[in-house]
Amino acid sequence: MGVMGRWAAAALAAAVGGAAALPALAQNEQFIPMLSYRTGAYAPNGIPFANGMGDYYRMINARDGGINGVKIVFEECETGYATDKGVECYERLKAKGPTGAAFFNPLSTGITFALTEKAPVDKIPIITMGYGRSESRNGAVFTWNFPLLGTYWSAANIAMQHIAKEMGGLDNLKGKKIALVFHDSPYGKEPIPVLVEMAKRHGFEFIQLPVTHPGVEQKSQWLQIRQQRPDYVLLWGWGVMNSTSVKEAAAVNFPRDKMLGVWWSGAEPDVLPAGDQSKGYKALMLQHGSGKFPVHADVLKHAVGKDGSQSKPEDIGDVLYNRGLVNAMLGVEAIRTAMAKFGNKPLTGEQVRWGLENLNLTEERLKALGFEGALKPLKITCADHEGARSARVHQWDGAKWNVISDWYTSDDALIGPMVRDTSDKYAKEKNIAPRDCSKES
């Protein structure tokens, strides 16, 4: 009985403590959930991203007193990049705050797939900036998904455009060998249909080399690269997989400047562990790159080092930190857009969805927000939940990322029909009647 008594007392203490620690939620607060990962194999990339997002929300609260006077309350939930943990976090956070969660940023393609099935039931939009399922760009079928700024199909197409340009035109791709080293998960497999289609059209050989989670074991894949000598290697990795790939490339002496990573494989944690070996490595940019843009001054002044912020001043301006800022900004602006229609009060997920679908960030607006030069104008519509499909390429010189290309825009004549076919198939299997976008306002 003694042991049981103590256990019961401990459990009781925890329960009471839990109840006491819950802050009394004021009515004028917008709740934003934050799925993050600060532990596990993906932590090196998850930490700067989460820091960036949190700092932007803190900055908005400190500088402007919230969004149009509505304070942002956000809560982190550690997913460890695991799907079942992500779903648990979603269930835990979706009903918090006076109006429930405004939106979710799953930060994992696997979690995105799981939440895609749940979002329409709970009426909460899913923002997957630069990731998620590519066909969800079709807002007529995927009402609740917003793959803002670019999907993996756009990324694959842009990556091939850059490679073709280096080789002297799309015609020169004929007979070349392009290898894709990818994370063996929905994330890594997303670009394959586009690359297969482009290989057919342009006559290059496409080699697929899957790497199992978490990606620290890649010897055999790089041995195959040494044997087959591809002309270019595309890297679709995340977390420790990226830096391992760069190291393995060096080990088999594959030139790093013939490697092109997706925008999730082109940040400081991916190249720094490999040291000098990563010099020359290239990656796509999700529009923005590293370095500071005007908004950083406000973030440094109002958020960094303040209560709850875990970022260090020297990390401000890293690629993934900046991406966290951009992602948080898009969510905040969607809420602001929705407030223009529904009033300056905490909004429900359904209202924020309207804001996302009518998000229109012009050049002037971006300048006012302090994202000048980092982002191109973005306009979301019912038919197009992606908004923009442009990217550049940057290269690591051993100390920093340098932008080495002009803007590319993905070829919609290729991707548009693929999006339509795949989303139609999804709509048919799920019995979804696509919305008529000409009637949406």
Binding site: G18, A21, T39, T83, E190
Partner: protein, 358 residues
């Protein structure tokens, strides 16, 4: 005093062979079922149903399947994740290729396919034992991980390899809300738990246990090892397969092979070791331990830290939760190597003597 069977006379063979021969047990199980079916649905929150009860119950079902093989028949298996995956993908393919099939039949068919594969992968158990068999089942795990990730037919050629469950329609009733999903899972799990309980105390279960305790002796008294072992593999894979269908269709809704990787196999094996090998109740306790405790730690640690004036950030919480969870596993294994179910039966023994311990 509270738990004493004195005065409960069994006047027929039927009463003597009841599933729960002691009146208090019958009452307790009945009360738990009544609470689970008629009280919880009215007081639970959405989060409670969809993130606590549904996954715990499904994991408990999978643990029952694995326990039949490991705890009752003594055949170690590390392939339970694969059998869950087989059930899930088989059911998915039945559902999209033959949309006319009712959902419950699809679930049973998923379990059936899993059972057949289980028999095939059980054949090596006729020649190899212990760790060597564990390695053979590990091969099943990796083979099916590979198969579902690589062969497009199983995922209906979706570009990313992630598939989604059909609508949960059962004779015109759709399990949409978390509480409906919970009731669906609860009904199926209770039914299978009852079946399993009956199976392990019948002649098949006795054969399994004879094989587990000493296979040569079992063979000498007339038990055919092939029949006993393969039925154990079949029944076990069937139940694990059904659990896989539930995990994919009811809990996740959309999944990829990673949902059933080696971690899932280990999770189930740990659940039955902690819960208690060779005990149906232990499966529920073990599954609850494996699923609910990490979530509880995750939620309870920050307020506990604040009580002593220490603000913990999320990363530290995650690290601490892992460490405490690991320490608790070691603690329970040292204090009670036979699992939580054994703790429960010790408690029953004590209650029987209370208040006059000797």
């Amino acid at each position: 005093m509270f738990y004493r069977e004195a005065g409960q006379y069994k006047t027929s063979y039927r009463a003597d062979m009841a599933v729960f021969p002691i009146a208090q047990d019958r009452l307790a199980v009945g009360a738990i079922l009544v609470i689970a079916f008629f009280v919880l649905p009215f007081i639970g929150t959405e989060y409670f149903f969809s993130s606590i009860m549904v996954p715990t119950l499904i994991l408990a079902l999978a643990a029952i399947g694995l326990n039949i093989l490991v705890g009752y028949c003594g055949q170690v298996s590390l392939g339970s994740g694969a059998f869950m995956a087989i059930g899930a993908y088989a059911a998915y393919n039945f559902a999209i290729r033959v949309p006319e099939l009712p959902l419950l039949l699809v679930m049973l068919l998923g379990g059936g396919v899993s059972a057949m594969v289980g028999i095939v992968f059980g054949i090596p158990s006729l020649r190899i034992k212990g760790f060597y068999l564990a390695v053979a089942t590990l091969a099943a795990q990796f083979f099916f991980d590979w198969l579902f990730a690589r062969v497009g037919w199983f995922t209906n050629y979706t570009p990313s390899g992630a598939v989604f469950a059909p609508k949960l329609d059962i004779f015109g009733w759709t399990a949409d809300k978390p509480v409906e999903r919970y009731l669906l899972v609860l009904a199926i799990v209770s039914l299978f738990a009852l079946l399993a309980k009956n199976l392990v105390r019948g002649h098949v279960g006795r054969q399994w246990m004879a094989i587990r305790d000493m296979d040569i002796a079992a063979e000498i008294i007339g038990i055919r090892p092939m029949y006993a072992k393969l039925t154990a593999f079949a029944v076990s894979s069937f139940i694990i397969g059904v659990a896989g269908v539930l995990w994919a269709f009811v809990h996740l809704g959309s999944w990829e092979p990673l949902a059933f990787n080696i971690d899932r196999s280990f999770q189930l094996l740990f659940a039955i070791i902690i819960g208690g090998l060779g005990s149906i109740a232990g499966c529920f306790l073990g599954a609850a331990f494996m699923w609910i405790l990490p979530i509880f730690l995750d939620i309870a640690l920050p307020p506990l830290g604040q009580l002593v004036g220490w603000t913990i950030d999320k990363a530290t919480v995650a690290h601490f939760a892992l460490m405490i969870f690991g320490a608790l596993i070691v603690f329970f294994l040292i204090v009670e190597p036979h699992g939580l179910a054994r703790l429960w039966s010790i408690a029953k023994e004590k209650l029987r003597l209370w208040p006059f311990p000797h």
